[in-house]
């Protein structure tokens, strides 16, 4: 009887294990690309309200040494990577007068974060609440009525030398906390056909504004000159040529690094190396979608895109290697699909991947990557990370070859 029971347990355990783990069969050696394959994040952690975040709707994430600052729809949080401890700050209006309590987080919706490397001050873009500086445990509040901030609807923040830039819905503002001087940039003094700024980034003497309706604008800090990057065809309903310039003028983010400028739009993404443009559409690359909320480049060859249908990564530009991370809506397991030249090569099934497919915010952090979604923060842990491609990477043992490695991406 005892033996029969043991047999029953074993008989039960085998299919259960198979069902829950779904181990992949090793791929045929012939399918390993000669050029090698890109890195795939297979170790993910999810951080949500249950872990101490004030809200699961993540609008901004910024890694700063051991700290990770997280802007949500209902407050600010700071995660200590070493201990896992999360501190949070929420907007309080105890006397219900419509104004924040003195010294507290000035408004609940935190849409942008940057950290001043010189002072350690944390600058927050508040969606409808202006700009805040978090320093020495105190929040200082800058808004339309007490400063030169052009609008309280702030989408992006970036530190440029001693200045803080804010991308707002009615132009960009630059603030120098040392001198107290504010400068406003709108259609009056910058080449903004529209003034609806969406993002701002600083890199090596240049500020890049992502402007909805005006493409990407580059501001040379030394000369004060502007340069425009626009869609050459000038039409909203088409992209005439993919690689002739920006994919579309409704630009949502710009990420300059190592001589390359990566750009996201609601219509696709693109890269500029100072001489050549290259556009990326989902149907040609394997990226999860064309609708792209944000962009964060790790290098001139590697870039992360926040799509509405998953996390898209151009993992190695020269080999056109793309990894698309999604969450299966039925099993809730993580999925990573690896493409080269638009061809789907492998699928990696993971217990965890991105927390949700609607990706909003990104930051790279050494070998790790932080992924803010509309339902939690994802921490992609880059154990064994490598740039570019390599042969027979570790993840390959967990991967399944695509049904037809020669089939097109979608």
């Amino acid at each position: 009887m005892r033996h029969r029971a043991v047999i029953l347990i074993v008989a039960l355990a085998i299919p259960i294990a198979a069902w829950s783990a779904e181990p992949a069969s090793p791929p045929p050696a012939s399918q390993t690309q000669a050029k090698g394959l890109p890195y795939v994040y297979t170790n993910w952690k999810h951080i949500t309200k249950a872990d101490g975040l004030p809200n699961d709707h993540i609008f901004a994430v910024k890694a700063d040494g051991p700290r990770v600052w997280i802007g949500t729809e209902d407050g600010l949080a700071c995660l200590d990577k070493r201990t896992g401890e999360i501190r949070s700050w929420v907007y309080k209006d105890e006397n219900k007068d419509g104004k924040e309590d003195t010294g507290g987080l000035p408004w609940k919706v935190v849409t942008a974060i940057d950290v001043d490397p010189k002072t350690g001050d944390v600058w927050l873009g508040l969606f409808g609440g202006g700009l805040a500086r978090f320093s020495a445990g105190r929040f200082d509040h800058f808004h339309q009525l007490n400063s030169g901030l052009v609008s309280d609807v702030v989408y992006g923040v970036a530190i440029e030398n001693d200045n803080v830039w804010a991308a707002t819905t009615a132009g960009a503002s630059r603030y120098n906390p040392k001198t107290g001087q504010w400068t406003i940039f709108t259609e009056k003094n910058a080449p903004m056909e529209e003034i609806w700024n969406y993002g701002v980034a600083y890199h090596k003497g240049k500020v890049y504004l992502a402007v909805w309706g005006s493409g990407c604008l580059e501001y040379d800090v030394a000369t004060g000159r502007w340069k425009e990057y626009l869609d050459p065809d000038g039409e909203m309903e088409i992209d005439l040529h993919r690689d002739d310039g920006i994919i579309h003028v409704i630009v949502t983010g710009a990420s300059p690094v190592d001589g390359a400028l990566w750009i996201s739009t609601y219509f696709g993404t693109c890269r500029y190396d100072g001489r050549h443009w290259r556009g990326f559409y989902a149907h040609e690359t394997g990226l999860p979608s064309d609708f792209t909320n944000n962009v964060k480049a790790r290098s001139a060859d590697e870039c992360y895109f926040a799509h509405d249908k998953g996390l898209g990564v151009v993992a190695d530009f020269p080999t056109e290697s793309v990894v698309a991370y999604t969450r299966d809506p039925k099993t809730l397991r993580g999925v990573a699909k690896v493409y080269q030249h638009g061809k789907h090569l492998y699928t990696v099934d993971m217990e965890k991947g991105v927390p949700h497919n609607f990706i909003i915010a990104l930051d790279t952090d050494g070998n790790d990557t932080w992924v803010g979604t509309s339902k939690g923060l994802g921490w992609a842990i880059g154990t064994g990370y490598y740039a570019g491609v390599k042969e027979n990477p570790e993840w390959l043992s967990k991967a399944k070859p695509a049904p037809s490695a020669t089939a097109s991406a979608k």
């Binding site: 005892r2 029971a5 039960l12 069902w19 969606f127 609008s151 309903e237 609601y266 809730l332 609607f358």
Partner: protein, 492 residues
């Protein structure tokens, strides 16, 4: 021992099941009271079911709307028609892929709030550099909304909970992106379920950018800027024919029907004028009749002689005006005073009593593009007119009528979907049947824009007469054949 082993086996099973199915489960079950409080068609029920089934992680398993070509653009008016574009946008409906469908309904609400943003109070205007100028449009828009909402409340309000609807009204003062702040206040402080507005193109753009981030349905009933909808935002819909549709009809009338070759443009130097004429300018050039001169005027000016002298010198056969009614009428009067007798065409804002009052007898023969046919025989329209007159002691015009339709669409969606912004969005976005509005059938395209018929209004014998394309036998440009997308093949 046997029982302990069996218990262990059961525990194994349960643990494996738990490991696999993380909470919350995808496709959470519908609540018991998911059905709408009144009869709806099978398609709507299916949309609602699928919207619930999608849960936090999925999307409704429903076909997305697709269009053969964007906005019924004639083949010969398409941009760069000699070169197939690498990619065409707006041909497939945008999905909302966020977790909003799984947000539970609030336990307690006293009223169901709907936001309104429109120009209803005088203020300083960036566009005019002085006094604001769109209250004449915004106030009827507000009234149309109020009427729809009051009628819904008279029928029991929000039927699922038997509580009234409430309109939260905000002025669109148009300064420094203030419409963005207004949308934030409406969504986060007033906690409205959907928002209707606004009219100014720039302010509408700012509003929908904010709406996208907040994830709230945005119904537009008064901004005819073509680019408003060309933004790929799955939360935005519009129930009025835009300037693109109106320009296409006007261009067909000017060139395919009347055979003009030289048509001049005079327009307001603001976003409405700049974007309004874009399609007629492009269509003219693409139809081999380039615009000989396009003149812009400041909104503060009363003297248009500079612009008109240039137009006169261009030997234009006809003149198209895009701007507000008062400017349109004053330009017309100055034209006639200067001996310029060219036929005068204008945008829908000039099809108004104000235009006629200022233009006087010069109004005779003027033709305006118009987004609907107010002469249409329809009991719904008659009832709306009677109710509006009774409530406001005024004649309902185009902004009132479209707002009434848009608000009724929103009210219907809230009644059907319940208090969940994503589901409210879904029942409108996935609806394939036209909405039977007082302005006519409202058919939303793949990018959720009204692509129903637009009209030409002619001032004849002391009143405006409305004509369809068919009425005037205006030829239509060649359309794409089904399946002909003209796509370029991507080669790496």
């Amino acid at each position: 021992m046997r029982y302990r082993l069996l218990l262990f086996a059961a525990a194994l099973l349960a643990a494996a099941a738990l490991a696999r199915a993380e909470s919350p489960k995808p496709g959470d079950a519908k609540p018991a009271d998911w059905r709408p409080p009144f009869e709806v068609d099978e398609e709507t029920l299916k949309v609602l079911e699928e919207s619930y089934r999608a849960g936090a992680y999925g999307t409704p398993n429903l076909p997305l709307k697709t269009d053969e070509n964007y906005a019924h653009t004639p083949r010969d008016v398409e941009p760069f028609r000699g070169t197939p574009p690498h990619k065409r946008h707006f041909l497939e409906q945008m999905e909302y892929t966020g977790p909003g469908r799984a947000i539970p309904e609030p336990a307690e609400v006293k009223t169901v709030k709907i936001g309104f943003i429109g120009p209803i109070e005088p203020t300083v205007s960036v566009a005019t550099g002085g006094k604001s100028h769109e209250e004449a449009l915004g106030i009827p828009m507000l009234r149309g909304c109020q009427l729809a909402l009051e009628e819904a409340n008279a029928k029991g309000g929000y039927l699922r909970r038997k509580i009234p609807f409430e309109l939260v009204v905000k002025n669109d003062n148009g300064l420094w992106g203030s419409s963005g702040n207004v949308i934030i206040d409406l969504a986060y402080k007033d906690e409205v379920w959907a928002i209707l507005g606004t009219i100014d193109g720039a302010n509408s753009h700012i509003a929908i950018r904010v709406g996208l981030k907040i994830e709230i349905p945005m119904m537009n009933t008064g901004d005819t800027d073509p680019t408003f909808i060309e933004t790929n935002i799955p939360w935005v819909m519009r129930c009025i024919g835009d300037d693109r549709q109106q320009c296409y009809l006007l261009a067909d009338y000017l060139y395919r029907k009347l055979g003009y070759k030289r048509v001049a443009i005079i327009r307001a130097s603001n976003r409405y004028g700049r974007f309004g004429v874009r399609e007629i300018r492009d269509a003219s050039r693409r139809m081999q009749n380039p615009i000989p001169v396009e003149m812009a005027y400041q909104l503060t000016t009363e003297d248009f002689s500079l612009q008109l002298e240039r137009i006169k010198a261009s030997k234009a056969e006809a003149v198209v005006h895009w701007g507000d009614a008062d400017h349109g009428a004053k330009i017309l009067n100055q034209m006639r005073a200067m001996g310029m007798n060219q036929p005068y065409f204008a945008c829908d804002r000039c099809c108004s009593e104000e235009f006629v009052k200022i233009a006087g007898k010069n109004a005779e023969g003027v033709v305006c593009a118009y987004p609907w046919n107010p002469d249409r025989k329809d009991p719904k329209l008659d009832a709306f007119r009677a109710a509006y007159r009774s409530r406001f002691n005024a004649e309902p015009e185009t902004y009132a009528a479209h707002a009434y339709d848009g608000m009724n669409m929103v009210l219907w969606a809230i009644q059907v979907a319940g208090l969940n912004r994503a589901r409210i969005r879904d029942v409108l976005a996935y609806r394939t049947k036209p909405w039977p509005g007082v302005t006519g059938d409202i058919r939303l395209s793949a990018c959720l824009d009204d692509i129903g018929e637009v009209y030409l209004a002619k001032y004849e014998g002391g009143r405006w007469h409305y004509y369809s394309r068919e009425d005037l036998q205006i030829p239509r440009g060649p359309q794409r054949a089904p399946g002909d997308h003209g796509e370029a093949v991507a080669k790496d």
